[in-house]
């Protein structure tokens, strides 16, 4: 057993040595950069998304955020109220779950990845072109591409702009024209429409100092199966977290999924989003 102790001590020393050495060689720390206004809490835009649609909140440079999306698969209208309560409002059912990570690559530019449990992976990027403090409204350009079967099969790129207007500290409204290419999973030779043009409309209203109601709807033209995606919810901001309970007519969270719409307007599904900012 002695040899193990020697190895352990050796490993600890080895691990510690470069840090010590680096610390000794480290030059005098540079003065702290000017405070990044992107790190300031924004009462009217507390999160990077409404429910599925993006907002114009900027990720500070070299900072990041994480989000979990969760959509229960049980329609709330199935069965009577007794059935609904016995299924605990859908919480006993399966769910489509998404995990998302976004990173501020440079000031105003964020990139991220979102994977949903039906094996769709979405890569996205967003650049802040105009800010409300200078122009009276916010304008971002966004691009994304999602691919099914772990980004091996059907690819759906999207390109659009996000226009936001903050209402003081009472919330914000959004208009998001987005072109979603190849939203139809069939080859273009056998379909009338292969793309979808959506105009996302959404709002977040602050009803208490840290409580908001949110809603979004995506009218669309082109390939438009099912019904237009619609969703509403209520959320609570708690420091760097935002906890959101939402109700949607579908399970979509990537741009391709949102463009393909909801199932129908008689079936609504409960879900939640939890996001966490990894900065102040």
């Amino acid at each position: 057993m002695r040899w193990m102790r020697v190895v352990l001590v050796g490993a600890v020393l080895l691990a510690a040595w470069p840090q010590t050495s680096a610390a000794q060689n480290k030059p005098t720390p540079a003065p702290a950069p000017a405070d990044d206004p992107d790190k300031d809490p924004n009462a009217s835009q507390p999160d990077f998304t409404l429910i599925g649609l993006p907002t114009t909140l900027r990720v500070p440079r070299f900072s990041s955020a994480f989000r979990v999306t969760h959509r229960f698969l049980r329609p709330l209208g199935a069965g009577d109220f007794g059935d609904l309560t016995s299924d605990f409002f859908g919480l006993d059912s399966g769910a489509q779950i998404g995990l998302e990570y976004r990173f501020g690559l440079m000031r105003g530019l964020q990139v991220g990845i979102h994977r949903t449990s039906n094996k769709t992976i979405e890569f996205f990027g967003q650049y802040s072109l105009l800010q409300q403090k200078d122009h009276g409204f916010g304008l971002d350009v966004m691009a994304s591409i999602d691919g099914t079967n772990n980004f091996r099969d059907s690819y759906t790129p999207a390109l659009g702009v996000i226009v936001s207007r903050e209402l003081g500290s009472h919330g914000a409204v959004y208009l998001e024209p987005i072109w979603v290419n190849n939203s139809n999973p069939l080859p273009s030779e056998v379909v009338d429409d292969n793309d979808t043009f959506v105009i996302g409309v959404g709002a977040r209203l602050r009803i208490r100092p840290t409580v908001y109601v949110v809603g979004e709807i995506l009218p669309r033209v082109g390939y438009d199966p099912g019904v237009n995606h619609a969703s509403f919810g209520i959320e609570k901001r708690a420091g760097g977290h935002v906890f959101q309970l939402n109700f949607s007519n579908g399970f979509g969270t990537t741009m391709g999924q949102l463009a393909r719409g909801g199932t129908n307007n008689d079936d609504w599904y409960m879900g939640f989003n939890i996001s966490r900012k990894f900065f102040r």
């Binding site: 650049y127 691009a143 790129p157 390109l159 030779e189 056998v190």
Partner: protein, 147 residues
């Protein structure tokens, strides 16, 4: 501004890699099949496929017994199909241009309830794949042209 341009170029490049699905992935055992009459004639009516499906003209030909008067040989197939009433189920067109759901050809290859006789091909399975049927339906949807 140069930075913004660079970002926009990256965004555009992102779109460019979004590619349409290949039709051959859908049509499986007949990778050259397209929604045109000549292609359907060549790949479906007149030829077996790699999945083992028999050619329609194995039975529906001018030489042997004419199955319900439907000869699918290349010289006459189009005129025997499009806007021609089914002999098996009078009142329904074999191919109703623009209306695949009311085309008896589609009913027969899909094996829908209500058909008279058996699902085609007679020797199936294997039958036509969903992708192959979708291409036939698309040809009808586009007007069932003699293209």
């Amino acid at each position: 501004m140069r930075r913004v341009t660079r970002v926009l170029v990256v965004l555009a490049a992102t779109l460019m890699i979004g590619c349409d699905e290949k039709l051959s992935d859908l049509t499986g055992p007949t990778p050259d099949l397209t929604p045109t009459f000549s292609s359907i004639q060549h790949n479906i009516f007149e030829a077996p496929d790699s999945a083992g499906r028999a050619a329609c003209t194995q039975c529906h030909n001018a030489v042997g017994r004419l199955f319900n008067g439907l000869d699918l040989s290349s010289a006459v197939a189009y005129t025997n199909l499009v806007n021609v009433a089914s002999r098996e189920k009078p009142g329904v067109l074999r191919v109703a241009p623009g209306d695949p759901d009311n085309s008896y050809l589609v009913h027969k290859v899909e094996g829908r309830p209500g058909i008279v006789g058996l699902r085609m091909p007679f020797s199936g399975p294997p039958f036509l794949t969903d992708g192959q049927i979708l291409v036939i339906k698309r040809w009808i949807e586009l007007g069932a042209k003699n293209d």
